[in-house]
């Protein structure tokens, strides 16, 4: 069966055990969560959670049904078929010396990123874009010596 990336958007009560229940729904079926992003909505009692995962259509549908059965989940939407743009964000700390600064800036500009902090010989970069661009930007910067980084899960609407 066709294995592909799926994006599931969930509106759930903002409660301590909700994430555990959602995660259990995936892990109970041997499914991996590739990325996850969550934040409250306009109504602070409700959280919006975006999950990307890999699986065949059949299993994804089963997972959605199971999620819908959870009492604290209000809405589950499969965004995959809509083909909406997915975006993620990276923060990268790396040495910025005179020599590699130009090369770094060239990459940052190419991906429309930003240097959001500079310190003694270090800089923190912020980059956002689709997964492929972020992979490429990361690989290019890696050549120049990344010190530490954080990357969010994908979001979409």
């Amino acid at each position: 069966m066709d294995i592909k990336e799926s994006v599931i958007s969930i509106l759930a009560s903002n409660k301590p055990d909700v994430l555990a229940r959602i995660a259990g729904t995936f892990s109970g079926r041997g499914f991996n969560i590739d990325s996850i992003t969550a934040n409250i909505t306009r109504d602070p009692r409700i959280t919006k959670i975006l999950i990307t995962t890999h699986g065949d259509q059949d299993t994804i549908i089963k997972i959605e049904k199971q999620l819908n059965r959870l009492v604290d989940i209000h809405q589950v939407t499969d965004l995959t078929s809509l083909g909406l743009p997915l975006r993620e964000m990276m923060l990268i700390r790396m040495p910025m010396t005179g020599e590699n600064q130009d090369k770094i800036m060239e990459i940052v500009d190419r991906y429309r990123g930003e240097v959001i902090e500079t310190g003694a010989g270090y800089g923190v970069l912020e980059l956002a874009g689709n997964k492929e661009d972020m992979d490429n930007a990361f690989a290019a910067l890696e050549q120049l010596g990344i010190d530490d980084f954080a990357r969010t899960g994908s979001i979409t609407l």
Partner: protein, 557 residues
């Protein structure tokens, strides 16, 4: 006395109509157990929390009402786990009340602290931990409502000791919910029309009923549908008893240990109407070879049950009672004499070569037990050969008259579940039928029976072995017996008497009439041990990993 959280718990239990609960105390539950002393709610102290959970489950299965069990924190709560999982697998409405250490001690590995909400996440329909006494009433009301609504199941409410001991106001009466008395009409009549047309057009239809039919109290409507359409039916293990046996359209139950006629009819059918069942592996065996010729229509209240295991051409999500009452108008009777004749011929051929439905002497004995007991007796089976013997030979007369752990197959279920059933249905006789292995697993409940003088009758079919496992080793592991012998060094009659339960032993070869009469007559609990040959198996049976048509027979069948 000031009102405290514990009083709120009891107030809501009473409001929900709870008359009896099953539990075990400990430090964290003391505020509640203290207030129970002056409450009209009866608390049965089982001898193990697992038994309290099974008793609540048995109570729920026998009455259709929510069963309640109660434990302290830590080991008390973890002891409930098997019982909660058993209720979950069979969609039984249970509320498990667990007490927790004080809020200030939580998260510190305190004495008897355990994350019971976390442990039971995958085996509850939902769970709550209450962290404010003012929420206690609404959480408990919601728990009861969730346990019995939609697809029923177990709810767990974890209550820290300090919350139970906190002063508070009596709970306000529940908000009036607008009554849903008006007959609900199924929403998607189009789809229902399609199902009816497919059923009406089919030449070799069969209906499969699961436990959902009983849960939705739709057995009468299903019988009407079957009789109106002239459609043969089978059930899953959980559906056994939905329609009183002896009905001419009854094929027995399907699956690994089911009736050959049911399996073979489903295999030949061109249309299956599945109602309140999930096509579990126990029912379908090798899924790829299940009912290859049939178009499948499935009705269930739980969307996750639909298409979970098989491809369903005509799904329908809805309450079974409402759906079937609408479907009833759309179904036409049709001449299917060729199909019914074919089934009848097969039935006669199979009955002829399979006395007592392949259950041998034990099966014969079980039918004699039923004859000796009052007509409306509730039978509670355990797990193992004894379960299959009971399910195949006990003639269920009412939907809730035969109780079994189907989805979980929990050994040790029968005696505590029978206690719950008897407490819930005091006017009916209750008999637990178990194997020696399963009997040992909750043997301590004999003390509960004798202490409260609960007149549950127990029949132990003692083959001195884990019979069902022995049969598998015999047939599929070249007879290399291992780890299945329980031995005959224990005098079960003396053990029962030691617990204060009168008991008697017979052999399955003896005339059991006198012993059965004593069992039926006993005014208190009573145990009958029946010595059975360890080579008496269940036939036919489907080898692991094979199709429903691959039933194999024993010698002489």
């Amino acid at each position: 006395m000031d009102t405290i959280g514990a009083d709120i718990v009891l107030q809501i239990l009473q409001e929900e109509g709870v008359e009896a609960i099953f539990g075990y105390p400990g430090a964290s539950s003391l505020p509640l157990h203290d207030r129970l002393k002056d409450s009209p709610i009866r608390h049965y102290l089982t001898r193990h929390e697992q038994a309290a959970a099974h008793a609540a489950d048995g109570y729920a299965r026998a009455t259709g009402k929510v069963g309640v069990c109660l434990s302290t924190s830590g080991p008390g709560a973890t002891n409930l786990v098997t019982g909660i999982a058993t209720a979950f697998m069979d969609s039984s409405p249970v509320v498990a009340l667990t007490c927790q250490v004080n809020t200030s001690l939580m998260g510190r590995d305190s004495f008897q602290e355990t994350d019971i909400v976390g442990i039971t996440l995958p085996i509850t329909k939902h769970s709550y931990q209450v962290n404010n006494v003012n929420n206690l009433a609404s959480v408990l009301r919601r728990a009861f409502q969730l346990a019995r609504s939609g697809r029923p199941g177990p709810l767990l409410v974890d209550m820290p000791r300090d919350i139970l001991a906190s002063r508070c106001e009596k709970a306000d009466p529940p908000e009036e919910t607008p009554s849903s008395a008006a007959e609900k009409v199924p929403s998607n009549l189009d789809q229902l029309g399609k199902i009816a047309r497919a059923l009406n057009m089919s030449e070799r239809p069969v209906i499969i009923m699961g436990g959902g039919v009983k849960l939705s109290n739709a057995c009468d409507l299903m019988r009407a549908l079957i009789e109106k359409g002239g459609i043969p039916f089978t059930t899953t293990m959980m559906g056994v008893g939905s329609i009183a046996s002896g009905n001419g359209y009854d094929l027995g139950f399907i699956g690994t240990h089911g009736n050959e006629l049911a399996n073979s009819t489903v295999h030949q059918s061109d249309f299956i109407l599945a109602v309140g069942m999930r096509f579990s592996d126990r029912s379908t065996s090798l899924i790829d070879e299940f009912a290859p010729l049939a178009t499948i229509a499935q009705i269930d209240i739980d969307p996750t049950s639909i298409g979970k295991n098989v491809k369903v051409a005509l799904p329908y999500v809805g309450d079974i009672r409402e759906t079937i009452s609408a479907l009833l108008n759309l179904v036409e009777s049709r001449d299917r004499s060729a199909w019914l004749q074919r089934i009848q011929q097969e039935r006669e051929a199979k009955d002829f070569c399979l006395p007592f439905k392949g259950c041998g002497k034990a099966g014969h004995l079980i039918s004699m037990i039923q004859e000796a007991m009052p007509k409306e007796t509730i039978a509670v089976s355990d797990v193992g050969l004894n379960q299959i013997w009971t399910l195949r030979t006990w003639k269920a007369r009412t939907p809730r008259g035969l109780i079994t752990s189907g989805g979980m197959g929990t050994m040790g279920f029968s005696v505590p579940a029978a206690i719950g059933a008897k407490i819930g249905m005091p006017d009916k006789s209750v008999v637990a039928i178990c194997g020696d292995g399963g009997f040992y697993m909750n043997i301590q409940e004999l003390a509960t029976l004798s202490y409260y003088k609960i007149p549950v009758k127990i029949v132990v079919l003692n083959n001195r072995h884990l019979g069902m496992i022995r049969q598998i080793q015999d047939l599929f592991y070249e007879g290399r017996f291992n780890t299945i012998e329980l031995g005959n060094h224990v005098d079960l009659v003396a053990v029962a008497k030691g617990f204060g339960v009168p008991a008697e032993r017979i052999s399955v070869d003896e005339n059991p009439e006198a012993a059965l009469a004593a069992l039926a007559r006993a005014e208190g609990p009573h145990l009958l041990e029946v010595v059975v040959d360890e080579n008496d198996y269940v036939f036919p049976i489907i080898p692991p990993g094979q199709a429903n048509t691959a039933m194999i027979h024993g010698v002489g069948d």
